[in-house]
Amino acid sequence: MNVERPMETIRLAGARMLMWLFWLNVPALMLIGWLLKSPDAEVGALAAALLALLPTMMVRRRDISAPARMTLAVTSVAIPALYVFLLRGHAWQMDMHMGFFAALAAQTVLLDRRALLVAAGVTALHHLILNYSYPAWVFASEGDLPRVLVHALVVVIQTLMLWWIVSLLTQTIRLQTEERQRSEGLRKEADAAKERAEVALAELERAQTIATRQRGIEEAARRAEEATERRRLVADALEARLGAVVGDLGQLAGQLSASKQWLFDLLDHTTQRSAELRKAHARADGDVRAVAQDTEKLATSISGVGGSASHTRDHALRGAMATRALTPEVDILSATVDSASSIVALISQIAAQSRTLSLNAGIEAARSGSEVRGFAVVASEMKSLAAQTAEATRQIDIYLQDIRRAADSVSGAIDVATQSADTIDRSTAGIVDDVAEQIRATGEIAAATEEMARHIAEAASQAEALSLALAEAQSAMGETDAAATALSSRSQELQETVRNVLEELRAA
């Protein structure tokens, strides 16, 4: 970017502002002249318009070159002169000179020290000239050179200050422009770097896209390879399974064909057996009926045995009851024998005491002499009696013991008889139960026999149906033979088809 461009921008803006101010003075001069009732109002306004033409043309052409700035500067200091001209002889004429200072200050917008000098020079020059040629235009009073010089000094001071300001502004703007240019350069470099980065990013994205596409292709290839491998495995599996199945089918067809004749023979044999079975059924039917009659006879006989057993049981029960009735009597007999034994023991004890007493009496009789010999005889007799008594009690005791043993034997016999009666009762009861069970079993045998006869009849009818089925089976076997032949040929076709399909599957 050109360093002067920002200056030109500011200058152009200032020039436009000055242009509009020039044209603003046209109605202002007209208005002031009308208010002052000046006969030169139109002249002043016309002169302002005439002065504004050329700067306007330049500004409209965006011409802010040095000559254009000079033109603007000259015009700027000429406009206040029109006010001074219009107010000549008026009390405010002197105040209109302030416009020159404002015009000088306005030159700062042009950022041109030469234009500032031209404006100041034109201001000073025309005041100096008019001071001699038409002093009334410079001051309301007559011309006064010292005052002109004082005013010129003020103009010079203002010009110097404006010069300094314009210099600073120009320098600042140029520095700013240079900085901006530097910044612009850096920005451009940054933009270029950004563009390069964007290009690199785009390249990277393109590379990523290509890589992604390549990965997709590789993935697709891998999947295709996997699919091919899977198809190959599937084909192998199918070949293994279908081949085995087809082989089995072929083998089965062969076996079926081989078994065909065997089945025919078997059917013939079965048909013959079926006829024999029907005959056997007829014989079995007759046998079963005979068994049924014998079973009825057996049942009648068993019923008779059951009645005898019941009668025997009744007698056994009565014997047992009679035998049990002997038991108290035997017990009483035993008690009596025991009582007798105690009495015998008492007698024996008395006999022992009598013998002891007779012994003592004999001893006393011996010591006393003859006067008591009779007493010794008595003692001897008593001793003899005691001995006899002891002997008698011993014999009684032996008899009592025999009686006791006999009672015990009777009691044992009664127990045995009772147990025997109970045993007979239980046996008889068991016989009765067995007979009842045999009667029931016999009934069941009769029922089973009838059921068997019915089954034999059904089996006969089934044998008939079997004969018919065998005939149908023979016809079906003929069809099966044809089907087996067709199955064998179709199995070979299937094997060939499977081989072709597997070859196509592997090739896909």
Binding site: S65, P67, A68, M70, T71, A81, L130, Y134, W137
Partner: protein
Amino acid sequence: MGNRWGLAAAQLATVGFMMLAGVFAPPARGDMLAIPLTTASAHGLAAGLIAVGAIPVGKGQFDGALVVRGDRERLAWPMIARGVLLLAAPDFLCVGQGGRA
């Protein structure tokens, strides 16, 4: 660029011309310098000026020129018709202090 400097010079000239015009243009009312451009117009100039309401107040630096005081509207066209140039009357165009009455 040369053309532009010409325009700047033209604007400067315009300003100068306006300054001169301001200096030499006759005022609406006041002292004015009537300069006869021909000998015929110089003859009877004073009478002609008086006839249109002007009052002669002195002589000008030029031959036959008169300084008059009057009304510009009344003087302008008759004087132009007589071949008389009507200007303002600055001191340096008048004959000394006594030039103007």
